[in-house]
Subunit: 280 residues, 2 copies
């Protein structure tokens, strides 16, 4: 029997717990600072049992940390201090460099794995946990060279058991590419929601006129503000770079529309169409 403690029972932690709990020889213990989350996770059967943080750490062979990224940083040294020397601690946060730095010189750094399973929905909390959320999706592990071989092998096997294929990259590369591709999408969608709520005073019109296009573009604006505020705070450098480029493209497009330069507008959209080829 392998003992796995999942700290943080929201969308990601809850979904991991749910998948692991269905495996043959695994005991899943859940830990969450919110009593409501603990009660809900138990009610939904996401974990075998709920535990305190300290007990959860001490009894675990594998500790999965699925709390907001700013909390991971403050919690991680504590977890490494308290856990067994043979255990493996794995974080699944959406930013990696600041987290890796926070335990860079910790004596148990070699028992830590910095991971980012690329999956999610716009919903949050234990109720949002989905079985099979990770199936067929990609996982990233950063600075794998700083971890013991057996710890890395354990993490790889765990993510494989969730149906994921893992890619290794540096924490800086991870943060850069994720800011460019994924986190900018969240900013763009959150700001679209804010703009439409701001300029369209008549909520009934939003409801009546929202087509599937608006619904899909604004979907991420439903995401958890705490989770994303923490992420945006941690990947500032690359996110600001991406946002500057996004604002520049919008301003340039705005000028072309203003000037009735239909040909230029069309060309810019043709370039953007290239995304079809890459995503498919």
């Amino acid at each position: 029997m392998i003992n796995i403690t999942v700290i943080g029972l929201g969308l990601i932690g809850g979904s991991i717990a749910k998948d692991l709990k269905s495996q043959l020889n695994v005991k899943v213990v859940g830990v969450d600072a919110s009593q409501a989350h603990c009660t809900m996770a138990q009610k939904l059967g996401l974990v075998h049992q709920i535990s305190t943080l300290d007990d959860g750490i001490q009894d675990a062979d594998i500790i999965l940390i699925a709390v907001p990224v700013d909390k991971i940083e403050s919690l991680l040294p504590y977890i490494l201090d308290k856990m067994k020397i043979t255990s493996v601690a794995i974080d699944v946060g959406s930013t990696k460099e600041a987290i890796c730095k926070s335990i860079n010189s910790h004596p148990k750094r070699n028992r830590f794995i910095a991971a980012h399973p690329l999956a999610g929905t716009e919903f949050s909390g234990p109720e949002a946990a989905l079985k099979g959320l990770f199936q067929g999706r990609k996982n990233i592990i950063c600075e794998g060279n700083l971890s013991d071989k057996d710890a890395l092998a354990t993490a790889l096997k765990l993510f494989e058991s969730l149906g994921m294929v893992t890619t290794l990259m540096s924490a800086d590369e991870h943060d850069k590419h994720l800011a460019y591709v994924s986190h900018l999408s969240h900013v763009s969608s959150f700001m679209l929601g804010l703009t439409v709520l701001d300029i369209e005073k008549d909520e009934k019109q939003i409801f009546d006129l929202a087509g599937t296009g608006f619904a899909s573009t604004v979907r991420l604006a439903k995401s958890n503000p705490k989770t994303w505020a923490a992420i945006f705070g941690k990947i500032k450098k690359y996110l600001l770079e991406a946002m500057d480029s996004y604002i520049n493209h919008l301003e340039n497009f705005r000028v072309k529309i203003q000037n009735n330069d239909i040909q230029a507008i069309e060309q810019l959209m043709e370039t953007s169409n290239e995304i079809k080829r890459i995503l498919k």
Copy 2:
């Protein structure tokens, strides 16, 4: 038997033709400036027959105009000139004011209906035509008071037969609300695609790291550039207003991230979360 001519056999015209063709007592004639579109529409069985523009106009009881909005404006007076006095011409373009103005003083203005069925996908051309695309979606008719009662009734019945519920509003209101809610989404998505292609030089990273979040936010960037260049040109006033507000919100959010004002970032996203309540 009612004779319906659909001019423009792309995503919208093709889907309308496909639905109408499955109805009992309807003959659907297709017209398209592109020979390739005509051939494909016939191959896919979207229409009963292909015709020339003039024959298509003369034989029709109802003429549906589903070409890009700038083309509608230039084509509409010609269609009204040539069609039978008892026929009804219906355009299904995504902007309404400029189109309505273009035939405001036409002697057959009373036989024209300005409509906008709110449905679509990011794909285009006859191959993108879908049966049931309009089922359960909303339709808008503008300036219905300028049309003969029987013409309006015919249009309402036609859209009802596609599974749509119609709302009446002024052309100016339509353009404003659509720019705010739907067209801004397209700009935001097209520019997101352009930005990611611009800053992420490594296409493999886009492919590898694109989660379902990015895919959904950038989906509209796959839309037809010609269709949207024409639309953006026609709803300039309200679209520029919406874009200015969007750029302002992005710039404000950027400053808050730059200043590590996590609380303000979180609050802005909480406000944006309101979109959940309205869309659901």
